[in-house]
């Protein structure tokens, strides 16, 4: 599987994302935000950072980049797309995922290891680092997401550090090929840094590659 990792001005986790794609057995290359052609790429990671300075709202400007147009096409064709942290914010702003990310409840930037639960009930230990990670969606939308199985990751009890509604850490689109989460699986793929649970987040999307 060949991954493309987007790189915006202000991205900062794209190198770890490249490494993570390779650790799980894929190939990966960087995709500059002005690139419009994703031919040869099976799946995309929209990495963390502060795209275009996060001016206005996190992810609000990045969604208009040529590379994001190409990502929207890939997503519509059923290809896997993983948005991490700022990448999650970008996917929400682009309308590829439901909901929005707001300033953390206590206004503090949070940086810590957290436990997440995936759909299967497995616990994943993955780091968080963000100031705007409070997931929000209106109540009726949340009910629908839960009914459709679109809540991909939740914070374990006591690990919701940003005030996200219903402890939601990550969501997927209806089809399941687009996933976004605030925690950073790309920083949890190497035993050297304490946990390799992040690999599962990448592997969970491999089935959508054509």
């Amino acid at each position: 599987m060949i991954w493309g990792v987007l790189q915006f001005p202000g991205s900062c986790d794209e190198r770890d994302a490249l490494h993570a794609c390779e650790v799980v057995g894929g190939e990966a290359r960087l995709v500059w935000h002005e690139e419009r052609d994703l031919s040869g790429i099976d799946g995309v990671v929209v990495p963390g950072g502060f795209s275009y300075g996060d001016y206005l709202r996190a992810g609000a400007i990045a969604r208009f980049s040529p590379a994001m147009e190409a990502v929207a096409e890939l997503a519509a064709a059923g290809g896997p797309v993983l948005g991490i942290c700022n990448g999650f914010q970008v996917l929400c702003e682009a309308g590829l995922l439901p909901g929005a990310l707001l300033r953390n409840e206590d206004l503090r930037f949070v940086c810590k290891q957290a436990d997440l639960l995936d759909d299967a009930g497995a616990t994943l230990s993955i780091p968080l680092k963000h100031g705007e990670g409070r997931y929000y969606a209106p109540e009726e939308m949340l009910d629908r997401l839960e009914a459709n199985g679109q809540v991909a990751y939740r914070y374990a009890d006591g690990h919701n550090a940003n005030g996200s509604v219903r402890d939601i850490a990550g969501v997927r689109n209806e089809r399941g090929n687009v996933v976004g989460l605030m925690p950073h699986p790309e920083h949890a793929v190497d035993p050297l840094t304490g946990s390799t649970d992040g690999r599962k987040v990448f592997q969970a999307l491999e089935g959508f590659a054509s």
Binding site: E93, L102, E105, A137, G163
Partner: protein, 74 residues
């Protein structure tokens, strides 16, 4: 060019921690009886065609899921 001001604020019912932080600071400064503080954003701009401002707000200046906006011609 028509001048306009766009006010953007968090939707009613959405927790606004910035507003809360401001509110909590007030008593220490001697301000009593002030509540429901909400912090938003203001954008001033000039437009050849003010008709397009609604779409501009929907698509970029505000996120309609979490924010309300108000366009004021100047």
């Amino acid at each position: 060019m028509a001048k306009a001001r766009v006010l953007i604020r968090p939707k009613e019912g959405i927790l606004d921690p910035q507003g809360k932080a401001v509110e909590r600071a007030l008593p220490a400064l001697g301000f009593e009886g002030i509540g429901h503080v909400r912090v938003g954003r203001m954008v001033e701009l000039e437009a050849d065609d003010p008709e397009q401002l609604g779409e501009l707000c929907e698509k970029l200046l505000a996120n309609p899921l979490i924010e309300d906006y108000e366009i004021q011609p100047l």
